[in-house]
Symmetry: C2
Subunit: 451 residues, 2 copies
């Protein structure tokens, strides 16, 4: 299908270029033209379905670079608890009883929520199972995503089988919507040898299933909390000097296709290594605050030239998949904690949620900005709302005033996946019923075993 979005304000996010009274022409999956409406209207008349964006802002779809999509099933199950109690007494005990179907249903709910909030790409790390899984959920919802399998030292052979299957069945599949990643859980749960082996596995899988433009990346938690160095040292009897990123560097597992989530407890040396190795960062301010993990030194990393993108983290530690909230929290938090209201201006934050997100997933040749030749991943935000009036500066409104619910229409890979707030790919009412049923059964399994 061909589309012409017209009469809108286009924030291309290509060098922050804004086109007013603008239009975007889309053929099949691809953006083929961007310009003034009166010009594009003449060029793309018949055969183009028109979308009127008058009074609206057109942005690249938001890129959420850290999720555990399946965990929406546990949204609000446990909050306001100390981290270890939260994990050990609440989250892990119930996760044991989650089935492949639960993972699919949870991820489907997150996919719907993501789309409804203008997010078009999600990077998710969870347990992969061949039957039902997050990749299938994203593909069914029409959401673009990098789907990983999370690896732990205690289940190496299981992991390897899962990674093989995931790469074979899902890398660059579903019309290119889905890519896959190799996900060592964290430096304190993956021993040094396995960490190296997983890098080799990634290289081998890339040779078989990847390409220069469609790489299989690595998604890992790094330095989420202050005590992580101690956890690594005591788990593997190694010495971690000069920080965790430096430790990973000493294992030779870092490269430009690694995305490290959190990066809260980084040393200055870590920041230097991150830049040198071109490791990408996913900043998750809401989760870091909610779990009291600390504040990532984002302004410092940006100053060094590190690619910093934004993530929500799981619906269990946030508790939404809302990238608008993450943008606002990012802009606010670093101003407050640095006592400087000029850091993290709106325009920069908007880049982090779009083009920097695409770079962080090694996907910037196809997504992250509205550019001719890129895939058509777009969100149209309706500004005709009391809380978005008057307008002086669109970027300011998108970061400081707009809400996920202001997103009206979403296009992914050239396909309209939400039109005037109605999701077109799956039925949200039906999915919510599936979720409720899955939740009840999950609690039944948990309670049966606890008793």
């Amino acid at each position: 299908m061909n589309l012409l979005i017209q009469n809108g304000t286009i924030l291309t996010m290509q060098n922050r270029k804004i086109t007013r009274e603008g239009a975007v022409a889309i053929e099949e999956q691809t953006i083929i033209d961007i310009g003034k409406t009166h010009e594009l209207k003449r060029k793309y008349g018949r055969g183009y379905e028109k979308i009127d964006a008058k009074g609206k802002v057109v942005i690249p779809g938001l890129v959420n670079t850290h999720q555990h999509a399946a965990m929406s099933l546990l949204r609000g199950y446990a909050d306001d608890l100390p981290l270890q109690e939260w994990l050990e007494k609440w989250i892990w005990p119930i996760e044991k009883y989650m089935t492949a179907h639960d993972i699919y249903v949870g991820a489907l709910l997150t996919a719907i929520e993501s789309i409804m909030g203008g997010t078009t790409t999600v990077n998710t790390m969870y347990h992969y199972t061949p039957e039902e899984n997050e990749a299938k959920a994203f593909a069914d919802a029409g959401l673009r995503g990098v789907v990983g399998h999370v690896c732990f030292s205690w289940r190496k052979s299981e992991d390897k089988k899962a990674l093989e299957d995931l790469a074979k069945n899902w890398h660059n599949k579903a019309n290119g919507l889905i890519r896959i990643s190799v996900d060592p859980h964290a430096p304190y749960t993956v021993d040094p040898e396995y960490m190296k082996e997983l890098k080799e596995i990634r290289e081998n899988l890339n040779e078989k299933h990847g390409s220069r433009n469609t790489p299989i990346i690595c998604h890992i938690h790094v330095a989420e909390t202050e005590d992580e160095i101690e956890k690594i040292q005591s788990a593997f009897n190694v010495s971690v000097k000069n920080g965790i990123m430096e430790y990973l560097n000493s294992l030779a597992v870092l490269d430009n296709h690694v995305i490290a989530a959190h990066c809260v407890a980084l040393t200055d040396n870590d920041v230097k290594v991150t830049k040198e190795r071109e490791v990408k960062v996913s900043h998750n301010p809401i989760s870091n605050l909610k779990l009291a993990s600390g504040i990532s030194p984002v302004p410092k990393m940006l100053k060094k030239g590190v690619t910093v993108s934004l993530g929500t983290d799981s619906p269990c530690s946030n508790n939404t998949a809302d990238m608008f909230e993450v943008m606002k929290t990012t802009a606010l938090l670093h101003k407050g904690s640095n006592k400087n209201p000029t850091v993290m201006p709106a325009e920069k934050v908007l880049e982090m949620a779009t083009i920097e997100g695409a770079k962080a997933l090694s996907w910037e040749t196809e997504i992250g900005s509205i550019e001719i030749g890129k895939k058509a991943d777009l969100a149209i935000v309706n500004m005709n709302k009391p809380h978005l009036n008057p307008i002086y500066n669109e970027a300011s409104h998108l970061v400081y005033a707009a809400k996920a619910s202001d997103v009206e229409t979403v296009i992914i890979n050239g396909k309209i996946v939400m039109e005037e707030r109605r999701v077109t790919t799956v039925n949200p009412e039906k999915v919510m019923k599936m979720v409720e049923k899955a939740k009840i059964k999950l609690l039944e399994r948990l309670n049966a075993n606890v008793k």
Copy 2:
């Protein structure tokens, strides 16, 4: 009109009592009954308009205890700037050209936004003019509010006239929707003598226009930034020892009808004085972060038993009137900054946004909880949304996952002011057009004078 809200989950916020399958009966302005739907249905049949709240949560309307409602006209006009540059080069120069009509229109826009986000009471401080003003805007929108006139040392006689007029025409007016306050701007802009005089003025106005249950309160900025002590000292050649609250106490201007906004830079002694004098606090985390003012010691104040409520601050330093955002930010910020994920649990934050807000405005005999005999100020939140599923705990969802846009129906003083997202009292489309026109004219006046 009589109403019966039925089949909902009622979070009364009276001792955190929750009634499931619950109903609330309203006669004219007042809540007359609360209970199980099957019981209330029998008692309140004919003559009661029914509102179905199945799958929804009914909460007391949110109370926003610090606003400058008129400033929505400048939403997004200037952001990401150093505080003094922001004020002196951007905000104050343009505010000079704001007319009485601009103030009315801006406040009307904020009133609509507030209602659409489930806020039913707003405490606002701005310049009062008899012709058009914030009080009229709130009354027209059907929003409950405390409307103040902000006082400065440099315009004493003007202030006194404005306060007289405000009290006479608006205190306890519009069916009791509007109350008024006497608002010394801040300890660094109001000299000690004038500060004392304003307390006397408040007492006199209270004798004429107030009562024990309808007091005229005092609304003031206190300790918004770290340098405020210096600012006071250099402005008035006084010595401020042991903190700003202590300084105000030494002037004998503090009492239980004073609400102090921000309270960021409080000493431990200040916290003690705040408690002793029963001064109420309005916490504005989003504004404090955006302007890099610092972080208010809220957990410490709560521990001491201080009444801490929540505010958005102006749409210029936030940039919304969204109390859901403020609730989430409050819950997150203090966990993060105290490195303790158990502080500020969802239930407590919800209290701060409702019953504690009512107490902070000395209005708790009438609002802040769903109780028999109180005014019917309610918000109905639709939980049948992907991002609010599944449900384990309603309070968690309201604080961590719900958005202003999930509020479906709002009742203030027994009147439905929003029904299924349609505001019934004023026409938002029309108001947005008035706002755009006012903005253009304001910029014209500014530019004509700058040139």
